[in-house]
């Protein structure tokens, strides 16, 4: 289908494309091991977050929490804000985003273009400062509605009802599903759906491992695990460092012509790991992974050019996924 009544109706239904050149070669006579990319950058604002934003807003409307003209408040470091800004605009809401000031300039420009208002929390204060800023804003505006993507069941349900079924429809022989672990919505939703439908499916998480500056301020006793997270949905979980994420992001565009953001590089790194294990073990594998967004919003980091060490330095201290 290529005609829709509105942009919101064009959310999801993204292509799944094979990666014949990045898929590992198997010995003669061995079962095939294939990689497949789910192009979530083909959503209305260019990221997988459109699915969650649309479902969360609809759920809030149905529950009577959101009424025309209401203000939505969302602490976000990027794509969710862009998605929510688009959905809010089309559904008649105002969006205020709270974010650390060290996100890329493209993201800020995009958010403002879509009509979002932005309140920055100082980057130097790290998450503690973001918490303080968010609390203060919430106290001053008790009538603002927060969708809270980390604990909102509609976030995971978006992927249970759309991403998961799309994957199974397009790839009935799927053996592995690999996605990024942030709010955990994609993995929980699509992962649960696929576990129900596909015997023995492996649900694999790739989480970004940032530079030390990001963790440096964090006290272990004040850690965060999103409420949506249920470890029993996952089969494995990989931590992918900046260098590997950049390497794979570049490889994806160089070898297969897919220009993606760095979180996708981290996801591809984990997908390649499980694909190569399957080759080693002589098992058939159809590994589907998520291309979470395109690379456009990250060009200003400079991490697409120069040496890997340069790129690593450029991303140090940044939330690149």
């Amino acid at each position: 289908m290529a005609r829709y009544d509105s942009l919101l109706d064009a959310c999801g239904g993204t292509p799944l494309v094979g990666l014949p050149r990045l898929s590992p070669t198997v010995p003669d006579g061995a079962p095939p091991v294939r990689l497949w990319a789910k192009l979530e950058d083909r959503n209305p604002t260019g990221s997988i977050k459109d699915r969650a934003a649309l479902f969360m807003v609809r759920a809030a409307e149905e529950a009577g929490r959101l009424r025309p003209g209401d203000t939505i408040l969302e602490p976000t470091s990027g794509n969710t804000g862009i998605s929510l800004a688009m959905v809010a605009k089309l559904r008649g809401y105002r969006l205020v985003c709270v974010m650390p000031e060290n996100v890329s300039t493209e993201r800020i420009q995009l958010l403002r273009m879509y009509g979002a208002e932005i309140i920055f929390s100082p980057a130097a204060g790290g998450s503690n400062q973001a918490v303080a800023t968010a609390k203060q804003i919430a106290a001053e505006h008790p009538d603002w509605v927060m969708l809270y993507q980390y604990g909102n069941e509609a976030n995971a349900r978006a992927h249970y009802e759309t991403t998961g079924p799309e994957l199974l429809h397009d790839l009935p022989t799927i053996t592995h599903f690999v996605a990024g672990l942030g709010t955990t919505g994609t993995l929980m939703g699509a992962g649960r759906y696929l576990r129900e439908k596909v015997d023995g499916i492996q649900v694999v998480a790739a989480e970004p491992r940032y530079g030390e500056l990001v963790y440096g301020l964090r006290n272990i006793d004040e850690g965060y695990v999103p409420e949506l997270y249920d470890a029993s949905v996952l089969s494995r979980r990989f931590s992918v460092g900046t260098r590997d994420a950049v390497l794979r992001t570049r490889q994806l565009v160089e070898v297969e012509g897919i220009f993606a953001g760095f979180s996708t590089g981290a996801i591809l790194h984990a997908a390649l790991a499980v694909a190569h294990e399957a080759v080693r073990d002589g098992r058939r594998a159809d590994v589907a992974f998520v291309v979470a967004d395109g690379g456009w919003k990250y060009l200003s980091t400079g991490a697409y050019g120069g040496t890997l060490t340069d790129a690593e330095d450029a991303l140090e201290g940044q939330l690149w996924a």
């Binding site: 998450s127 672990l181 491992r209 272990i220 965060y224 470890a231 990989f238």
Partner: protein, 111 residues
């Protein structure tokens, strides 16, 4: 048997400031006990009194989360690399802030 262990900034007070230390052990549990013999107090920050990994600590063996490899029983081999990190999923800042507002709202509602 040498296993390289990467220590997060917040726990380097136990390692004399060292970013990377070496230890040995057949399992993660053994390794943490070995480390604690030279870096007293470190293990208690990672393992609860009940003997499980602390909820807000993530430990990776060769970049894979040990909770899916047997947790403290995860097998280790010479040359493995172990990374300890505070639990922050992607979008950590957003989550921290979001959790704070949710907590704040709940506190207001309970008043």
């Amino acid at each position: 048997m040498a296993i390289e262990v990467r220590i997060p900034t917040i726990l380097r007070s136990y390692t004399g400031g060292a970013k990377v230390v070496e230890g040995s052990g057949d399992t993660l549990g053994d390794l943490l006990a070995d480390l604690d013999s030279r870096h007293a107090g470190l293990r208690a920050r990672l393992v609860t009194d009940a003997g499980a990994l602390h909820r807000f600590v993530n430990v990776y063996v060769n970049d894979e989360d040990v909770r899916f490899l047997g947790a403290l029983d995860a097998k280790l081999n010479d040359g493995d690399s172990v990374t300890i990190l505070p639990a922050v999923a992607g979008g950590a800042f957003g989550f921290a802030a979001a959790a704070a507002i949710a907590g704040h709202r709940a506190a207001v509602a309970a008043r």
